[in-house]
Amino acid sequence: MAAEGHDAHSPLAQFEVHTLVPIKLGSVDASFTNAALFMVIAVAAITLFLSLGMQRRALVPGRWQSLVELSYEFIANLVRDNVGHEGRRFFPFVFALFMFILFANLIALIPYTFTVTSHIIVTFALAAVVFVMVTLVGLIKHGLHFFSLFLPKGVPIALAPLLIPIEIISFLARPVSLALRLFANLTAGHTMLKVFGGFVVMLGLAGVAPLLVIVVLYGLETLIAFLQAYVFTILTCIYLNDALHLH
């Protein structure tokens, strides 16, 4: 499916989607691609990480179990602090979202892997799920009153014609910014790593310099892998809070 036909050395070649097993569901192309493979790997890794870490069910946790409990409590606290008690229902979703993005990001840091979250369609789909869910939650909980979100309390009514369009635009921009932020960060980071990797090969012995840059960049990318997963998750929590409690 590499329609644009990048050669293997292009920094963007790593983002190409290849069909591994062609599948057709009616007229829909549901082929199992390398992207799908790494989504499955991410889910499998999360499942293994959590279930193996919790296998011993120790009262005093070991290192692995501590890690599992840490991630659980991290997201639980995030949801509790940002959404409040009503957020408990959304905890599994938020946790799944965080883990999926985090593991996709981290697995992508292994050389020769595919970066699931570097595809705008994937990040946009995730953002759209969040957007639709938040809107539905708000509408179900508050009915039409939900639209008071577009007019913050205490604002002079004269400002309404100006403010309401701004608020509507900012509301609609949420999924776009959510999707673009993750996509752009991951794409840029991995492209940069690939570019500097190319320099190392090209420069021979002098390639030590770009190699050092890669080491630093790799650390930065690891940070970004966590940070972007965190940002996506905390913004989801904030939007949920808006929908549940309005302003």
């Binding site: 499916m1 590499a2 329609a3 644009e4 990048h6 963007l12 070649a13 983002f15 190409e16 989607v17 069909t19 599948i23 569901l25 829909v28 192309d29 549901a30 082929s31 199992f32 691609t33 992207a35 799908a36 989504m39 499955v40 991410a42 889910v43 999360i46 499942t47 959590l50 279930s51 919790m54 069910r57 009262l59 599992v68 409990e69 659980y72 409590e73 905890f91 599994p92 979703f93 946790f95 799944a96 883990m99 999926f100 570097s118 595809h119 705008i120 369609i121 994937v122 789909a125 995730l126 996509f183 794409t187």
Partner: protein, 160 residues
């Protein structure tokens, strides 16, 4: 840019839905309740242990208070006992002293009486002797026999 190749959108979306829904179900149905259960049971155990420690601490405090009370009571009793013992001892000593003083006074009185008697007798003897000497001397010198009673009276008058 391979990301903008719309032909890849459909298979990615299909598999994203499959994998994400699978992950959501695995997490929501199986793994998260299990982790939550373990965390909760630990929380319960900690709370239970803390309560146990608290009651044990309270017991220790009670025992300490009882001990303190016993100690205070014993101390007060000892104080009373000491005071009464002191009182009896003081009273006994006073009685003994009084008795001793009385005996001493009695003894010294009788001794004084004896001394006074002895003194009087001695003085009497001396007077008698002086009268005798005076009588004998007068008789030898003048040849007059003086009545012993007169001689005695003269000695007495001389002495006083």
């Amino acid at each position: 840019m391979p990301q903008l190749d719309t032909a890849t959108f459909a298979p990615q979306l299909v598999w994203l839905v499959i994998t994400f829904v699978a992950l959501y179900l695995i997490l929501g149905r199986r793994l998260l309740p299990r982790i939550g259960e373990i965390l909760e049971s630990r929380q319960d155990k900690i709370a239970h242990d803390l309560a146990g420690a608290e009651s044990a601490g309270k017991e220790a405090k009670d025992a300490m208070a009882a001990y303190e009370a016993g100690l205070t009571k014993a101390r007060a009793e000892a104080q009373v006992m000491r005071a009464s013992a002191l009182e009896t001892a003081v009273a006994e000593a006073a009685a003994e002293q009084g008795e001793l003083a009385a005996r001493l006074a009695r003894e010294s009185d009788s001794a004084e009486a004896t001394i006074a008697g002895a003194k009087a007798r001695a003085l009497d003897d001396i007077e008698q002797a002086a009268a005798d000497v005076a009588q004998a001397a007068v008789a030898r010198l003048t040849g007059i026999e003086i009545d012993p009673a007169r001689a005695r009276a003269a000695v007495k008058a001389e002495r006083s």
